[in-house]
């Protein structure tokens, strides 16, 4: 088993072309992918970060191009711990679409999901169409947990963005853990073994492993 304290699912949303994939690739692989080629066969990227002394695994999911015709599946949002909503500071329409994205998040995501607003492509200097203040105001008014401007091209704030996500989720999770602990201690008589969600792949893998180990 790999040793990590928590694994968090982080999903990115926002209009096509705002640089979601670039942000993920810059953070996880340190590269800025040239061109606009869609990444075929890649579901999510994983990177382990440290929060204090804890190893935290971030599983970062991309939209798989389904934002192009606004057809992101609801199930994409379902089990996300954090949602990073990205717009392009040099593209006003990508900012104007934010309320629509917020609507989707509110409809399908968990109520307590961590919401982060990101204005990407700050490297574009002169071409900026959305001032930082406007982005920050929007984030405040709509109760985002965090707002940040980034550039996947020159790496501005990219690491900070995901480190913030990891730190905040870890802190939240620790509080929940304590509460659950408290709750378990309080409830003495309940059987806790059944009723939890089941991931099919876990079982498939353990079966696979047990087959291998037998030989």
């Amino acid at each position: 088993m790999e040793d990590y304290k928590y694994l968090f699912k982080v999903v990115l949303v926002g209009n096509a072309g705002v640089g979601k994939t670039c942000l993920v690739r810059k953070f996880t692989q340190g590269i800025f992918p040239p061109g606009q080629s869609a990444t075929i066969g890649v579901d999510f990227m994983i990177k382990t970060v440290k929060v204090g002394n804890d190893k935290i695994k971030l599983q970062i999911w991309d939209t798989a191009g389904q934002e192009r015709f606004r057809s992101i599946t609801q199930s994409y949002y379902r089990s996300a711990h954090a949602i990073v909503l990205v717009y392009d500071v040099s593209c006003q329409p990508s900012f104007d679409c934010l309320p629509e994205w917020l609507g989707e998040i509110e409809s399908y995501a968990n109520r307590r999901v961590l919401k982060i607003l990101v204005g990407n492509k700050v490297d574009k200097g002169d071409e900026r169409e959305v001032p930082e203040r406007i982005g920050r105001d929007f984030s405040d008014v709509n109760h985002f947990d965090y707002f940040l401007e980034t550039s996947a091209l020159d790496a501005t704030n990219v690491d900070q963005l995901f480190e913030q996500v990891a730190t905040r989720l870890t802190n939240d999770m620790k509080i929940t853990d304590e509460r659950v602990h408290q709750y378990r201690a309080d409830a003495t008589n309940t059987s806790s073994s059944s009723g939890g969600p089941i991931k099919l792949i876990d079982r498939a893998q353990t079966q696979l492993n047990s087959c291998c180990s037998r030989q």
Partner: protein, 491 residues
């Protein structure tokens, strides 16, 4: 900033129901370029799940029929020499939809307003077609093989109830059905001797399951097509135990022959204990998730998704579909896969089967228990003539309703005189449950023969909705279509 649809795709898929989604994902994985379209704004078509707000919107019918002006305009704009336009159909799979809120005296504020005020309308996930997954069944295997299992979470269907009529009160009693070994030994429904005999029978099934087809055939001794009960009798299984076995597997097959009964027994027993005591799993947030998950997989492999646009016609040349006209654009293609909804009007049906679906929203469970559960009730005993009569209750526990609320799904085929609706309402009345919302409709399982597509060879019609409890038929047919049409292995 409306983006244009691509001008070419190897495969154009019409409809985002589960079978189409499976086929799209398989094509995407096989390296074909896929354009996946749906007339609806939402994923899943007749396999979808809706929030309380969405279902009322989705129930409104929109006419998709083209006017003669549109047809001639499309023809003159898009058709080349020798090409023929084939209008797409808009066949009704979900029909006679009726939705209503039921006022109740006990509510000071009407439930609709209360749920709205609490922001809980979105917490419903109302399935058009709730089905279960057998833990060792084809669907679970397909989910694991394709790694789509990564996108969804499941819970056990942890309570199976068997109804019987109380001789004194004439009320329907809901008795728990023991399924795991532990439950069977604790159960009071069987005597110690019967339990021992049942264990013997289970061992027999396990052995039988390990045999080859021809060996199995010899064991059945020519009784394969005879009723299962006769075979059990021959095996020396007591009357009471026969009933118990036939009832338990009855949820898979209500009128088993020896061959189908043995198959169902093995499927059932294989699945018991796989993820827990129950052989069945259900997706959290409802079955609509599954088609979305397969669509996500297709998208990850480059398929392009566009929902909510008009899908108008096909273009045929020399017995082949060469293009699809959608959203007033021409998309050239090599293959077309479609759900039965889109099949052109003049293509003859191979067969069809109607079944009733009724969904109730309640705030009291069918049967109180220590903890909340997902419940399955097989009502076959009360409708012996019908192929399918079952009730599924899934609530806050399955994230298909707000906490403390339940969706009660009744599904029944239409043979015989009684209907599943009156049975469920009797259950409600006897248990003093008053639903505050009701939706009823019929589903139409429309089957087409892909080789009878009006002389066109490259159309695949995806398997239709069906009333069975699990996904075996869907997976079977999808596999068949896929290997036949594309000569690849699925996933």
């Amino acid at each position: 900033m409306e983006e244009k649809l691509p001008e070419y795709a190897d495969v154009v898929v019409l409809g985002t129901g589960l079978p189409e989604a499976l086929l799209a994902a398989a094509c995407g994985r096989a390296g074909l370029s896929v354009l996946h379209l749906d007339r609806n704004q939402y994923y899943g078509g007749d396999w979808s799940s809706f929030t309380m707000t969405m279902i009322h919107e989705a129930a409104e019918n929109k006419d998709c029929k083209l006017s003669s002006e549109e047809v001639s305009k499309i023809s003159s704009t898009f058709l080349k020499n020798n090409e023929k336009l084939i209008e797409l159909g808009d066949r009704k799979v979900v029909d006679d939809m009726d939705i209503k809120w039921i006022p109740r005296e006990m509510d000071e504020v009407p439930m609709q307003e209360k749920l709205k005020a609490l922001g809980q309308m979105r917490k419903f996930s109302i399935d058009l077609l709730p089905k279960m997954l057998l833990s060792k069944g084809d669907m679970v295997r397909t989910l694991c093989d394709s790694q789509v299992s990564m996108y969804a979470e499941f819970k056990l269907v942890d309570r199976q109830l068997c109804p019987s009529e109380c001789e004194k009160t004439k009320k329907i009693l809901l008795n728990p059905v023991p399924v795991s070994k532990g439950e069977i030994f604790q159960s009071e429904a069987l005597t110690m001797l019967e339990k021992r005999n049942l264990m013997k029978f289970i061992t027999f099934c396990t052995l039988w399951n390990g045999k080859t087809k021809s060996e199995q055939f010899i064991v059945m001794d020519g009784t394969g097509d005879r009723p299962f009960a006769e075979f059990l009798e021959m095996m020396g299984v007591s009357k009471k135990l026969q009933e118990f076995i036939i009832h338990t597997i009855g949820i898979l097959d209500s009128q088993p022959t020896t061959a189908s009964g043995m198959k169902a027994c093995c499927e059932f027993m294989n699945s018991v204990g796989c993820y827990g005591p129950s052989p069945f799993l259900f997706p959290i947030y409802g079955c609509g998730e599954l088609s979305q998950c397969f669509c996500r997989l297709a998208a990850v492999f480059g398929s392009i998704y566009c929902l909510g646009r008009p899908i108008q016609a096909l273009v045929e040349e020399d017995g082949k579909i060469v293009a699809v006209i959608a959203d007033n654009q021409r998309i050239n293609c090599r293959h077309v896969i479609m759900s039965s909804r889109y099949v052109p009007e003049d293509i003859p049906l191979q067969s069809s089967q109607k079944f009733d679906r009724i969904v109730y929203a309640t705030d009291k469970p069918l049967k109180k228990d220590e903890k909340e559960a997902m419940t399955l009730v097989n009502l076959a005993a009360f409708r012996p003539d019908s192929e399918v009569s079952r009730v599924v209750e899934a609530g806050g526990y399955m994230s298909t309703a707000p906490n403390g609320h339940f969706l009660v799904h009744a599904t029944g085929t239409q043979e015989g005189s009684s209907n599943v609706e009156s049975l469920v309402e009797r259950l409600f009345e006897e248990n003093e449950i008053s639903p505050y919302w009701k939706m009823s409709f019929t589903m139409n399982s429309l089957k087409f023969d892909s080789s009878q597509m009006g002389g066109v060879s490259n159309i695949v019609v995806a398997p239709p909705v069906d009333p069975s409890i699990h996904y075996a038929n869907v997976i079977d047919e999808v596999l068949l279509h896929f290997s036949f049409s594309f000569i690849f292995d699925i996933f």
